[in-house]
């Protein structure tokens, strides 16, 4: 038997069907061939997964859902059938001290035939109250949010328009727009919100190749959990694949953490009932902290609300997590205030289920475009924030617009600004626009500066296109020809702007730049771009050389990181800590290395994890104690706090007791907060508070001691 025959068997046949002799032969070959052995093992591993039988009730729930779905009006059905369209609509804040799920007070534009009563009861809507919840009290209709009565029809919505086609057109963008339903007490805020909403709809309708779905909030169906507190924290879940949670504190000074009343609201059950009011499934209390919130699974909602949460395996931020926050991508923090507002969720269609315009080996175009327009109204201040992110790192952008207190509010102008940003930064560009920019890059009569500016625009545009047409070789060649006459800053731009184009022309140019470029900044950009090229021998050799010999410490550091995997980098961090032939700064540099500081690199910082023991902690303590710069000591403590490891508590306690800097001591308190249930930690904090002469530290410590460890006590910390 050879490799092809074995593969064919794995592809076409059941192993049990093979004769004993064939099975023996197959195993004999696999034992002699690493690839085939691995393939066979993987095949067996997948087959070995035990799949439980379908729950008996599921079919009935599904049948009811399908029936309800067929009965609803086309626009609602369309939105409901494409849950990714409405995911962004789920993050609405909930008014303070009010039990509000998702509510609506009007029909969708083309839903005038009593379809509300027939709206689908999602199968997931049949959620029982989690354990520990008491049955909900009946609530009166219209108890909250009656003022925010914006509907698609009111705002010039899609009444009378034909229903959207069943399948989206490949490459077209769909924008789902929905009014926010919050309790608004300020009639002026409501009026302005309606005007802005109407303006947005009008502007969106003018955009070619864009399908607009103006949603009624009733289309947003989901189970949501609301924390009833002055901080108004809300958890909102979506379909399993698209859950979004938001935290909406009404005042920055009000703490989110602590014992909170939780209200489980099932808006889907309400829709089934047809009265438009969310149904409170139950209420209960549970300790909540920020760390309990980034939980994207409904089971976590239940466990949090019922206070029975077990340990959570946190697998790290992942390549798609946003910068800075290990839980990024899971949590959106939205400051909303008590006001009606607007939220727009922008998604891109991929052609539905009949065609997926994705080239071989590529991932589908990410549905990362996201436009949140939240209007906050505080002392007549309106603000809009827009953020988006596309496949190309260069396509990230953010935008905000607003009116200051005392200034006249021009909602139409604000809406137009938002739309302009949308067209400029997120929507797919017209082909003629792309061609025009390409010509600018190729135009040798233009200055280097102009051509690089055009290249920058081209990269931004590239990230918004759905055909993923790469930057052409002619463009790459033209840009590379600029290098000899370019300034160091321009050369750095060139290497950064050509990142991830992966044109073969680029490889030798980058290799040379990493070796011979005289500007540190340009050489670093070249090294980063080279690291993204692929694991080829020439790439590896160039970066390994840079790791050993480059004159710039940050380039050595980056190259060293890029050529190691996670475990290798962890070993390197530890080895550096113990390398007494280096300066302290050099010994600590790998620990403080932040890969995300390099554009295009989204890896999470390494964790010392299993390598962290008492000897490493002891070495770290000595190194930190020797750091003369207070800022460096703070930086190190913040970095080590992320490790979330008990072996580090003596180190933090030492800083708390021995450091002469208030900043360092306060950082140590923050780091120790998680371990407050440890007697030694509690004792150390109490002593520090008692010894504090300034009173500042004492206040913080007393607050920490009073509040306890929060999530750790509940066993819901994210690891």
């Amino acid at each position: 038997m050879n490799c092809q025959e074995l593969q064919r068997i794995l592809d076409e046949r059941e192993l049990a069907e093979l004769s004993v002799a064939d099975q023996r032969e197959l195993k004999r070959h696999a034992s002699a061939c690493a690839d085939c052995e691995a393939a066979l093992a993987a095949h067996d591993a997948v087959r070995a997964v035990a799949v439980p039988p379908m729950p008996a009730a599921f079919e009935q729930r599904l049948r009811r859902l399908v029936a309800a779905q067929v009965a609803v009006a086309p626009a609602s059905r369309r939105a409901f059938g494409r849950p990714w369209l409405v995911v962004g609509l789920l993050g609405f804040g909930v008014a303070a001290a009010t039990v509000v799920g998702l509510q609506f007070s009007g029909n969708a534009g083309n839903d005038a035939s009593g379809a509300d009563a027939a709206r689908p009861a999602s199968i997931a809507g049949e959620v029982d109250a989690p354990a520990g919840f008491r049955p909900a009290e009946p609530r009166e209709n219209g108890a909250a949010g009656a003022g925010a009565a914006i509907t698609a029809a009111d705002a010039g919505g899609n009444a009378g328009e034909p229903a959207p086609t069943a399948d989206p057109v490949p490459g077209r963008f769909t924008v789902a727009v929905s009014p926010l339903r919050q309790q608004a007490t300020d009639p002026e805020a409501i009026r302005l919100s309606e005007v802005v909403y109407a303006a947005l709809l009008d502007e969106l309708r003018r955009i070619p190749n864009l399908e607009l779905i103006a949603l009624d909030a009733a289309d947003v169906v989901d189970t949501s959990v609301t924390i009833q507190s002055p901080a108004a924290v809300s958890f909102e879940g979506g379909p399993a694949s698209q859950r979004v949670f938001s935290i909406s504190p009404n005042g920055a000074a009000e703490p989110i953490a602590g014992e909170r009343t939780l209200v489980l609201v099932d808006s889907r059950a309400a829709l089934a009932g047809g009265n438009g009011e969310p149904v409170v499934v139950g209420t209960g209390t549970a300790p909540v902290s920020l760390e309990t919130i980034p939980t994207a699974l409904s089971s976590r909602i239940e466990s949090i609300t019922s206070g029975t949460a077990g340990a959570v395996a946190y697998t790290g931020g992942g390549p798609l997590a946003a910068d800075g926050d290990p839980a990024a991508g899971v949590v959106n923090v939205v400051l909303l205030n008590n006001v009606a507002g607007i939220r727009v969720d922008l998604s891109q269609t991929d052609g539905g289920f009949d065609s997926v315009p994705v080239a071989a080996g590529q991932e589908p175009m990410p549905y990362d475009f996201r436009l949140d327009v939240a209007s906050a109204h505080a002392a007549r201040t309106w603000s809009f924030s827009v953020s988006g992110r596309a496949r190309s790192p260069a396509a990230r952008f953010s935008f905000s617009a607003g009116a200051s207190p005392g200034e006249p509010v021009e909602p139409l102008e604000l809406a137009q600004q938002v739309i302009a940003q949308l067209q400029e930064n997120l929507l797919p560009p017209d082909d003629s626009v792309v061609a025009g920019i390409e010509l600018e890059v190729l135009d040798t009569t233009r200055s280097t500066e102009d051509r690089l500016a055009a290249l920058s625009r081209l990269r931004r545009v590239e990230g918004r296109k759905d055909d993923e047409r790469p930057i052409g070789s002619d463009i790459v060649a033209a840009v590379l020809a600029l290098v000899p006459g370019a300034s160091p800053e321009q050369r750095a731009s060139i290497w950064r702007l050509l990142r991830d184009t992966n044109d073969p022309l680029l490889l030798p140019a980058l290799g040379n730049a990493v070796r011979y470029e005289t500007s540190d900044a340009a050489r670093l950009e070249a090294a980063v771009s080279l690291s993204r090229f692929g694991d080829e021998p020439s790439v590896r050799a160039a970066l390994e050389l840079a790791a050993r010999t480059d004159a710039a410490a940050n380039i050595r550091q980056f190259a060293s990181w890029a050529t190691r995997d996670e475990a290798g980098w962890r070993e390197h961090i530890v080895a550096s800590l113990f390398n007494s032939s280096q300066s302290d700064a050099e010994r600590l540099a790998p620990l403080l290395f932040e890969p995300r500081n390099y554009e295009g690199i989204q890896a999470a910082p390494a964790s010392l994890g299993p390598a962290l023991d008492s000897s490493v902690a002891g070495e770290l303590a000595a190194l930190i104690a020797r750091q003369p710069d207070e800022a460096v000591r703070v930086q190190l403590l913040v970095r080590l706090a992320r490790e979330d490891h008990p072996a580090l508590t003596p180190l933090f306690l030492e800083r708390l007791n021995a450091d002469d800097s208030d900043r360092v001591r306060l950082t140590a308190v923050t780091a120790l907060r998680r371990w407050i249930d440890e007697p030694a930690v509690r004792y150390g904090l109490e002593r520090a508070a008692a010894d504090d002469v300034s009173g500042r530290l004492r206040t913080v410590v007393e607050t920490v001691l009073a509040n306890g460890s929060g999530s750790a006590a509940a066993g819901t910390e994210i690891r």
Partner: protein, 184 residues
């Protein structure tokens, strides 16, 4: 329920639900997501009943929808890298009665490793391995996914090797440990 919808559901969808459920469960890894995936699939099917009726193999047609739904959603799932331990495969619970503590620990560890390795695979690879594990041959997988036979063969092989590599990361990565060219 309108008669046509009842009839269509009973005739075209219900008979294939167990099969869809198995595939969805394998892909999603636990019940809630599997049910959501099937829900999406069925709603999409309801919007396209004529096409479903015209399909030679309704089960493959539905699986095709499910396949695309899953691939569509995979991007978003990756943005939520929080995994609750209680969301790990229920299969481990099913076997819990018969195993001792050490076996259970080893089994749980093995399952966790499998889940982690599985989650690291691209969605398309997950789909291919799932369909194959569910007993579909290349011709059927081709008609479900629209991927040409020879490409499919290569991708299946790559998927297996990829899974094996993630299950046992020391095999390849020990030889060439780096982040070069990776998404990170």
């Amino acid at each position: 329920m309108p008669q046509s919808a009842t009839t269509a559901f009973d005739a075209l969808i219900a008979p294939h639900l167990p099969r869809l459920y198995r595939a969805a469960w394998r892909l999603a890894g636990h019940r809630a997501d599997a049910e959501d995936l099937i829900q999406d699939t069925c709603l999409a099917a309801c919007e396209n009943l004529p096409a479903l009726r015209a399909a030679d193999h309704p089960d493959r047609w539905l699986l095709r929808v499910l396949y695309h739904r899953f691939v569509d959603g995979s991007r978003c799932r990756r943005r939520s890298p929080v995994v609750a331990i209680d969301a790990l495969p229920a299969a481990s619970l099913a076997a819990a009665d018969e195993a001792g503590p050490e076996e259970l620990a080893a089994q749980a560890d093995g399952e966790r490793r499998f889940v982690q390795a599985w989650c690291a695979l691209p969605a398309v690879q997950q789909v291919l391995l799932t369909l194959r594990a569910e007993g579909y041959g290349l011709a059927e997988i081709e008609s479900i996914t629209g991927i040409a036979r020879e490409v499919l063969r290569a991708r299946l092989h790559r998927a297996r090797l990829s899974l094996a590599r993630h299950l046992n990361p020391t095999t390849d990565e020990a030889v060439v440990p780096s982040r070069l060219g990776s998404a990170t």
